[in-house]
Amino acid sequence: MRPSPRRLLNILVPVKRAVDYSVKIRVNPAQTGVDTNVKHSMNPFDEIAVEESIRIRERSLSSSPSSPSSPSSSPVTITALTIGPPKALDVLRTALAVGADSGVHIAIGEKEAMPEPLAVAKSIKAWIEKQNEKAGGKEGRVDCVILGKQAIDDDSGVTGQMLAGLLGWSQATFASKVEVDEASGEVTVTREIDGGGMQVRCRLPVVITTDLRLNEPRYASLPNIMKAKKKPVEKLTPADLGVDFTPQLEVVRVTEPPKRVGGGKVESVEELVAKLKEAGITAA
């Protein structure tokens, strides 16, 4: 009689429906933000996060010989979560198509503004607490959150860090390599920093944010997209989680950067030095 496999890891991957990376961003006529009447798709860093969670699962499957080959009873479960208007469901379906097991859609109205990072972090925390409460003991608790390091439309880059702070969990941000050791309950992450790479070892539970070099996301194949339609998606509202999405910040104005003015050409080295001195730059 085969023992049922130990549940090794429950990964939550929040994903965001952001302006598509190849669209040319423009400031909207009211100067309050960018024109969002353009193509949206999953934030590229979140695609990397989803991919990493799937790779963690694949690695755990290949390394433990007694586990069954079908992903549905795999010891690693991946849940994708998104906050957004009804159209955000498309992004969730993409995550399900590449390998997430189930989805969570925290729905806001079509015309409402997207929540600020703090509200996002609070929502994720609230969902995790609900989930952990439901789970009770060790099985079913969320022990890893993998997010993109930033969204490419607002470039805030703080949600992961705020989430870790609110939860009191370890955090490993700007990850370019992730190694999970389920046995010891530790994660070793190589982080991208200005000087190069920094290795940190964290105890689970952990919040990881992904950087560009972590992996190259796979394509969602058409058969998988069709199958993903049947995967379960939990629908919630901010009220269900007890989170207030009222903005704390007021955007005063958004403008394009000033147009580049032409530079000047200098005729000789002496002139260059003179101009540098004029600008107050000296060899001190």
Binding site: S22, P29, N37, K39, S221, L222, K227
Partner: protein, 659 residues
């Protein structure tokens, strides 16, 4: 020659097994023979999520509701969403929409918010404009100015959410799935293989046709009816037309290129609902074409230039013509203090009634602009495209029966018959002699004179039907009539275009950035340097999937014996011949004509030849396929007729939202 096929399981068994992503086959060349494709069965597979395809889908589902027989409809769209690859002026006649969705005015979010309030025609000289009378067909009472991209997106929403159509954006119809052996007759009585479905594009191949770890073969949709709604000069439509000789009894298709910009103009210049058409400058009197200005909703103005692709001068650059048109005082005033927010280009059909091919083939049919239904007097085609979709849906619904594996291919001849009895045919018949009348030595003057008489008085009620004009040598039916008009460069002089004046007019790359076009890096070049009939032969007969994709791709295929060694040499020769004729005789036409800067003929550094050995006299062809905006001009206009446009990996290409 028969395709060797691996054993195909019935679709439901395939899906019971969990389909894991296949083990990575790092860097192995692609072997078409060892491919196992996922399969699915649908009733109708529609290639193309534009107005024609979506109207067909919606109509099919309406029939399902009315009559009760369930029908599974799948729409494949190569753009990242419906509407991202479509571009047009556009002023829409709501005639077909009123038939398809009579309640559309009450539907929320419908994009027909700006009625056309006028219709004016202007003749332009270099400095002035003169009002001109216009054909009565061009009056716009009851019409709407829309962004066709938004229109398609709205229709797709309706189709998916209200009618349950399955739409898969990001997946291109790459190949027709044919029956194993000839099992049907074409319209002329020949035994042919029938169309049994569509295969989507492979993903995860490198430029040199090696498989990346992310490789996934395309999926095969087995469908009882395959409807091709790819827009003008569609890639699968071109193959079907050639395979089934659909143009046997009709004129070849003729085309134009439309380049468009969307501007947010200063409120003082904005006149919502204004529709203006321009003829004359900057085009010369032997070049057919003209400009337009439409004032859309929300302070936006759509403007652009259409140039017929039978132009003679290889030094003509459609992009530069558009940019210099904007230097005219009329445009300077309109666009002062404005902001350009969109740019794009797409070919359109001009052949009209004479160029309508046989519309059906065993197992499928051509819809919309893939057939070619633009009314060039009205300069509108969306209403016709939608109606063809509806007619095809009705015919398909009738023709589909419960069937077994060996049922005959669905006969769609009911659609061809219905087309010729419909108002689409009448719409096109009335104006059939107008475009050809511009093809005489009198150029646009002769055309305007004849068209004036015909549109005002005769309305096409004459016993003659002009053929499209021909150059002294006739083309073969698969190559384009338009390209054969191009004259050699030594008969013309380069055109002295004015320098750009940003922000009114900019260089090409600044404009291309506005299309949002991109293609995933390191994939096979989708612009194949090979004549279409050799391309089709290569795929179907010799299983040479890499034909036209470059010497390195062929080398990889030869490595695994997927193709014979002499194919590599043939590929090299094709490239050299292409550069020799295009650079030597036509001054590198594609470099000037492509509205996205895809083609370049550049000098080879150093020793004078490339590592692949495909340069000619120190010049080589560089294809920047990542810039491609899927306009199909190259396939139509290249003088050597050796560019075959094929689909790239899905989701690539432009991301139009306002065009």
């Amino acid at each position: 020659m028969r395709r060797s096929k691996p054993a195909l399981l019935p679709a439901r068994l395939l899906f019971k097994r969990s389909i894991r992503t296949s083990a990575p086959r790092w860097n192995q060349p692609f072997d078409p023979k060892s491919i196992e494709r996922a399969e699915d069965e649908v009733d109708v597979c529609i290639v193309g999520g534009g107005p024609a395809g979506l109207s067909a889908a919606i109509r099919l589902k309406q029939l399902e509701r009315e009559k009760g027989n369930e029908i599974r409809v799948v729409v494949l769209e190569k753009g990242s969403e419906a509407g991202s690859h479509i571009l047009s002026g556009a002023v829409i006649e709501p005639r077909a929409l009123d038939e398809l969705l009579p309640e559309w005015r009450t539907m929320e979010e419908h994009p027909l918010r700006q009625p056309a309030t006028s219709s004016k025609m202007l003749f332009m000289t270099e400095k002035m404009t003169f009002p001109m009378p216009h054909p009565p067909q061009m009056s716009n009472k009851g019409n709407y100015i829309v962004s066709l991209s938004q229109y398609a997106r709205w229709l797709a929403n309706v189709a998916e959410n209200e009618y349950g159509v399955e739409i898969y954006p990001g997946f291109a119809g790459a190949q027709l799935l044919l029956s194993e052996a000839p099992d049907a007759k074409d319209a002329w009585g020949n035994d042919v293989r029938s169309v049994r479905g569509v295969i989507t594009n492979e993903v995860g191949l490198t430029k040199d046709f090696r498989m990346k770890s992310s490789f996934e073969p395309g999926m095969a949709f087995r469908s009882k009816v395959t409807l091709l709604a790819e827009g003008a000069h569609g890639s699968l439509s071109k193959q079907a037309i050639q395979m089934y000789d659909l143009r046997k009894e009709s004129e070849p298709q003729t085309y134009a290129i439309g380049l468009k910009e969307v501007w947010r103009v200063d409120p003082s210049e904005y006149k919502p609902g204004l529709v203006q058409h321009l003829v004359g400058w900057p085009l010369s009197s032997d070049t057919y074409g003209g400009g337009w200005v439409y004032h859309m909703n929300d302070g936006l103005v759509s403007l652009g230039l259409v140039i017929a692709l039978d132009y003679k001068n290889p030094y003509l650059s459609p992009y530069r013509e558009l940019q210099r048109m904007k230097h005219h005082p009329f445009f300077r005033r309109l666009l002062k203090d404005g902001e350009r927010i969109g740019y794009g280009a797409r070919s359109l059909t001009e052949g009209g009634f004479q160029s309508i091919p046989k519309l059906n083939f065993p197992g499928g049919a051509l819809l919309g602009c893939s057939a070619g239904v633009v009314n060039i007097a009205k300069i509108k085609g969306t209403h016709n495209a939608m109606k063809t979709g509806m007619l095809a849906a009705e015919a398909a619904y009738e023709a589909i029966h419960e069937e077994s594996e060996d049922a005959p291919a669905t006969d769609m001849s009911g659609y061809d018959k219905a087309f010729h009895e419909s108002w689409v045919r009448d719409d096109l018949y009335e104006v059939r002699n107008l475009r050809p009348s511009f093809g005489t030595k009198l150029g646009i003057w002769g055309g305007m004179a004849y068209s004036g008489v015909d549109t005002l008085f005769l309305k096409g009620r004459v016993p003659w039907t002009f053929k499209h004009h021909r150059p002294s040598h006739g083309p073969d039916k698969t190559s384009s009539l338009d390209s054969s008009f191009t004259e050699k460069a030594d008969l013309h002089t380069p055109i002295n275009y004015p320098p750009f004046e940003a922000p009114l007019s900019t260089d090409l790359m600044t404009s291309v950035a506005l299309t949002g076009t991109n293609h995933a890096e390191d994939q096979p070049v989708h612009l194949r340097v090979v004549k279409t009939k050799d391309f089709v032969k290569g795929i179907e007969e010799s299983q040479n999937f890499a034909v036209g994709a470059g010497v390195n791709a062929l080398k990889a295929e030869a490595e695994i014996d997927a193709v014979a060694e002499d194919e590599v040499e043939a590929e090299r020769k094709r490239r050299i011949e292409h550069v020799k004729v295009n650079v030597g005789e036509y001054a590198g036409l594609l470099q000037r004509a492509c509205p996205a800067g895809v083609y370049e003929y550049i000098d080879v550094e150093g020793s004078g030849n490339t590592p692949e050995g495909d340069a000619w006299q120190g010049k080589k062809l560089v294809i920047n396929s990542q810039n491609c905006i899927h306009c199909k001009l190259c396939d139509i206009k290249v003088p050597t007729q050796d560019i075959t446009w094929t689909v790239p990996e899905g989701s690539g290409g432009p991301k139009y939202t306002l065009t």
